[in-house]
């Protein structure tokens, strides 16, 4: 009876997202760039991911990956094409948190930049699969097309001196169908 199962799941999903949206005081879910609503991450995970983004691609005179919307990109892809990586993310983020607490008795988010880098180097070694994955995904979000939620206002393309593509009036269409 897969049909019915699907219907139930869908209803459950609608209820849950309605609850989440009203709790957050939003009338619609997801579209707003910086709102508190996350599709996949818990609030704590989102904070950790944001902190990781800020270390993988830190700010200089151009924004960091955290500032360029990459956490939003990751969250969005984790309920889409990267659904298959959900569990790996959950485990990896748990490992980041545990490593931080073991070494500094604080969560990753509360560490200084150098302490965070140290933890990330440890994760790079001990959780190599997770680290390589999130590193690649952050690069995709930061250097990839803004339509996917990262690279906000095409900051990385501007940084590289690439004119963003004003191609034949089709950008609005592309944004909508992202």
């Amino acid at each position: 009876m897969p049909r019915q199962g699907q219907r139930l799941r869908r209803r459950k999903f609608l209820e849950l997202s309605a609850a989440a949206a009203s709790a957050a005081g939003l009338s619609s879910c997801g579209r707003s760039g910086g709102g508190p609503y996350w599709r996949y991450f818990s609030a704590a995970e989102a904070a950790a991911v944001t902190a990781i983004c800020a270390r993988i691609i830190p700010a200089d005179d151009y924004p960091s990956a955290a500032e360029a919307g990459v956490p939003r990109f990751l969250d969005r892809q984790l309920v889409r094409h990267y659904r298959k990586y959900q569990e790996l993310y959950r485990q990896g983020l748990r490992a980041v948190d545990e490593a931080s607490r073991a070494r500094h008795q604080r969560s990753f988010v509360d560490l200084g930049e150098e302490e965070q880098d140290e933890i990330l180097r440890e994760i790079e070694e001990k959780q190599a699969e997770f680290f390589a994955m999130i590193r690649n995904h952050i690069m995709q979000g930061y250097y990839g097309d803004p339509r996917h939620g990262g690279n906000r206002e095409a900051v990385s393309w501007k940084m590289l001196g690439l004119p963003t593509p004003p191609v034949r009036g089709r950008l609005p269409y592309d944004r909508r169908s992202a």
């Binding site: 993988i56 691609i57 996917h148 001196g161 593509p165 191609v167 592309d174």
Partner: protein, 551 residues
């Protein structure tokens, strides 16, 4: 309701099938052209750098779809895993009308004369099935010319003394040089090399009723937004349809070739766009699904007379799977090399295709296509940290100041690099999937290393302040240049099809695509696939026209 019987059913609308459909339809055959993908248009060029045919991290731009088309890949330790169509290791080629020609880079190379005589030129190589083709360059020359003029090729190879003789020049002039061309050309000259303009299936002037390339950044892997890149989807397939003799059915997934009790094909079974099982009978069956899927289809076409699959009496179907071993080098310069002009790849040398001491072959070397930022991230050198501020600042410094030179090393065929059908895993339609296993020959790796060193020399001469090599991978090689799985030959015991692409065992089944390549040249293979399709079609028409009063 039974479908109307036709003269020919052609499976696959890429470089091979598109040409065959047009040639047969023009000669008056009734043709059904089956394509498992969709018909995309230039307006579907989404310019999405994370979801296209070259960078598929968020999915393939033009098929196949992840949820319907798994494969099984076996690694060198014998571990197997199920791989989705957009994942690494799948050896993907586009599944859409036009196939790979819809979204390729469009380099239009003729193979060298020696590429057809590798065994005679270099002798037997241990651990390899290296062999001569049963046909020569001269057999294909008129058909190379036909492909160049009918599909449309631009470029200028007059500066290439190593090219095989041609009767007619290319129909269109080359693209005006980009900055990388200007930098690399004099450097090659100083080294005594012979640089020239890459031939490409791309309009540089209006041709065939379509305009020239607008030189945008989204080329290989993307649909051409201005429809100036030439594939079968915008050349021969529209011509085939215009004859009124050819019907194109998209989203048609062929399950097997049906064989009668006398061992002749009587048609195919496929699933249509609504997943309904259909039976299309035909006098002739042409298999043009590219090397992996063509082999899979033959292997899945089992019958009483062919219990191991069609054409597979001697266990050669699916063997000798090969692609190209891409190697080269990247150079960092202390001035800007990037000018934001597509397609980017413009200059090549053929000095190292043959005649390299101690090596059986080589490759053409060319500058790489224009790089989008995320693609550039993949080529950050090993001496730069892979994350953090140092990484970001290196990307900022180097993005506009690097040139990559690389080439497709001709592979030494390996019998155990192969396509089988998996005993357990099935696709969305319940058809056993392709199972890929094997690796590259050690000598291929050796040649690839040599080519990387030559690319590095060229970049250094051009003024690169730092260079690093891209050394060869070892795993299975196929990808968009996949070839070899239904080898052409005179001896039925050591090949699958004859010199006219007809399956040895079966009078009315042809394989016409890269599968028939005995060796794959040190060049992008598409023009050779097109030429073989014209050549085999010519034979098909002569052989079958008027036969039994049907055609």
């Amino acid at each position: 309701m039974a479908l109307k019987h036709v003269n020919a059913v052609v499976i696959g609308s890429g470089a091979g099938g598109g040409v065959v459909a047009k040639e047969l339809a023009t000669a008056g055959f009734s043709v059904v052209l089956l394509e498992r993908g969709r018909w995309h248009t230039p307006a579907e060029c989404r310019k999405d750098d994370l979801r296209n045919q070259r960078t598929s991290v968020l999915g393939n731009g033009f098929g196949p779809e992840d949820d319907r088309n798994p494969r099984v890949v076996v690694d060198s330790q014998g571990r197997e895993r199920v791989v989705l169509a957009s994942e690494g290791g799948y050896q993907n080629n586009a599944a859409c009308v036009g196939g790979g020609t819809f979204c390729y880079g469009a380099m239009a190379w003729r193979f060298a004369e020696k590429d057809f005589r590798m065994r005679s030129t270099y002798g037997a190589i241990e651990g390899s099935t290296l062999e001569d083709w049963p046909i020569t360059y001269q057999d294909l020359e008129p058909y190379y010319e036909k492909a160049e003029w009918e599909m449309g090729v631009s470029g200028d190879d007059s500066g290439n003394p190593f090219k095989a003789p041609r009767k007619k020049p290319l129909p269109m002039p080359p693209m005006p040089p980009n900055r990388e061309f200007e930098i690399l050309y004099p450097a090659a000259k100083r080294l005594g090399l012979h640089p020239f303009h890459i031939p490409m299936l791309r309009n540089t002037v209006p041709y065939n009723g379509r305009g020239p390339c607008m030189r945008c950044r989204w080329c290989v892997g993307f649909a051409c937004e201005v429809d100036s890149r030439n594939g079968t989807h915008n050349t021969v397939i529209p011509k085939a349809l215009a004859t009124g003799n050819c019907e194109l059915r998209t989203r048609a997934m062929v399950r097997e070739i049906l064989v009668d009790e006398r061992g002749r094909a009587r048609g195919v079974v496929y699933y249509d766009e609504n997943d309904r099982r259909q039976e299309q009978t035909a006098d002739l069956v042409v298999v043009s699904c590219s090397a992996i899927e063509s082999a899979r289809l033959l292997l899945n076409s089992k019958s009483k007379l062919f219990p191991n699959g069609l054409g597979n009496r001697y266990d050669w179907v699916g063997r000798n799977l090969q692609g190209h071993t891409y190697t080269g080098a990247v150079g960092l310069f202390d001035f800007d090399t990037y000018d934001d002009l597509g397609p980017g790849a413009q200059i090549a040398i053929c000095d190292y295709n043959h005649g390299n001491p101690g090596l059986a072959g080589g490759a053409m070397l060319a500058n790489e296509f224009i790089r989008l930022p995320y693609q550039f991230i993949q080529q950050v050198p090993p001496f730069v940290p892979s994350w953090g501020l140092a990484h970001k600042q290196w990307v900022r410094r180097a993005y506009r100041r690097t040139i990559a030179v690389q080439g497709p090393t001709q592979e030494i065929p390996v019998f155990d690099a192969r396509v089988q059908v998996d005993p357990k895993v099935k696709d969305y339609w319940g058809i056993p999937v392709a199972r890929l296993s094997g690796g590259r020959h050690e000598h291929t790796i050796e040649i690839g290393r040599f080519m990387a060193a030559k690319a590095e020399e060229w970049l250094k001469e051009a003024g690169a302040i730092r260079t690093w090599r891209r050394n060869p991978a070892r795993g299975l090689s196929a990808g968009q240049h996949q070839a070899g799985t239904c080898r052409m030959g005179n001896d039925p015991k050591t090949s699958v099809v004859d010199r006219f692409c007809r399956v040895h065992d079966v009078d009315n089944v042809y394989v016409i695509d890269g599968s028939v390549h005995v060796t794959n040249g040190g060049f992008n293979p598409v023009l050779t696939i097109l030429a073989i399709a014209y050549y085999a079609s010519d034979h098909l028409v002569r052989e079958w026209k008027g036969r039994k009063g049907r055609v």
